[in-house]
Symmetry: C2
Subunit: 222 residues, 2 copies
């Protein structure tokens, strides 16, 4: 079960301070909540009156079909904001990829604040839409290898500076994000490794050996 407690300045995790954008002040209104691995943050078809920011851990949004097929909409890492992705009701559920801490604020409070804060909400939604559109191209027109390469490149770009990149999620989550099976993901990772594009030091840790090659595999898009 999620642990919720009121926001205290001296309790704020380091990650919350590192976010340098104008949204930070907004979350002074919020609560921090802890979620265990695989715990639901909000459900499919729940009201969407809260917005969230990841402080620690990682979050995924998921949609399940009647027969169990699953599509992951996106992943959110520390500093990322989510919960804007729907209208009145969420179309995707949100779950903790692993033990995570999330800052929560009421969307209605944001709206009441008006002006700049509302514009911020729009901006966040726009960014979500852009990411979804990139995802559409990946799912609709890229090959398995290109999808995996795009995914690794995305993670590497995000944690720019770090030479070793962490994979917060398991292979099944990657597969459900990329529209593939776990076996195909595994095979493509092996292939990218034998091509000296990337190198895995652990199951969930890799380094980019050939950035050009990775970009070529991933960015067939113009």
């Amino acid at each position: 079960m999620a642990l919720a407690y009121e926001y205290q300045d001296d309790q704020v995790p380091p990650m919350a301070r590192r976010t340098g954008d104008s949204a930070s002040s907004l979350f002074r209104m919020g609560l921090t909540m802890a979620f265990a691995k695989d715990e639901e943050i909000y459900g499919q078809d729940e009201d969407a009156d809260l917005i969230y920011r990841v402080l620690e851990g990682a979050v995924r949004t998921t949609r399940i079909m009647a027969d169990g097929r699953r599509q992951i909409g996106d992943f959110y890492l520390p500093g990322d904001t989510f919960g804007f992705e729907s209208g009145a009701r969420h179309k995707f559920a949100a779950e903790a990829v692993r033990d995570s801490v999330v800052l929560v604020v009421k969307a209605s409070a944001l709206r009441a604040a008006g002006g700049d804060l509302e514009r911020l909400g729009w901006e966040v939604t726009r960014r979500e839409l852009e990411r979804a559109q990139e995802h559409l191209l990946l799912l609709g027109r890229k090959t398995a290898c290109e999808r995996v390469a795009s995914f690794l490149k995305g993670l590497a770009d995000k944690s720019s500076g770090a030479h070793v990149v962490d994979l917060p999620m398991g292979r099944q989550d990657m597969a459900d994000y990329l529209g593939l099976t776990i076996e195909t993901v595994s095979r493509m990772l092996t292939q990218l490794q034998s091509n000296r594009i990337v190198s895995f030091c652990a199951t969930r840790q890799f380094r980019v050996i050939n950035p050009r090659g990775l970009a070529r595999m991933a960015d067939q898009a113009v």
Copy 2:
């Protein structure tokens, strides 16, 4: 080449009057422009400072990869608003599916107007995001047959009331929206027809014979 002319009250096409939502007043600021079939309305990587509403015809948003693979983001029919789908720059181009008339207004004007109009912009963006998320599930996890069924159902639902539904776009556009090839789309249409789910009276006109069956094929999603 697109024909642009200033908006005059007595020139407004019937479709513009039929849109009953609060956005209509917004477009009093705009211009109407005519685009020929396949003409570009805006390009990939162009600035996104205009927003658009379809009055007549149909519009698609497209993304092209280096080797020519194409993904269609969405289709817009009379009454639909588009152009919000990106941040500073468009990630998808917009083109007329066939000869079309579009109402155009500057996004900056919308922002300057502030308040309600800005909230409207947010709402439109959210709707776009919802559609994109539905599209993600389709591309990531649905079979060819389910994709085509979902597509036909979407069109039929939109033109609810009409017994005969028009397909504004050709098979290639459908394929590039659904992440399939033109041949597969054609085969699935044939299959849906022999299963008495739908019936095509013309290449671009069909009627739903078995709505339950269509929903079952399309809505595997919960």
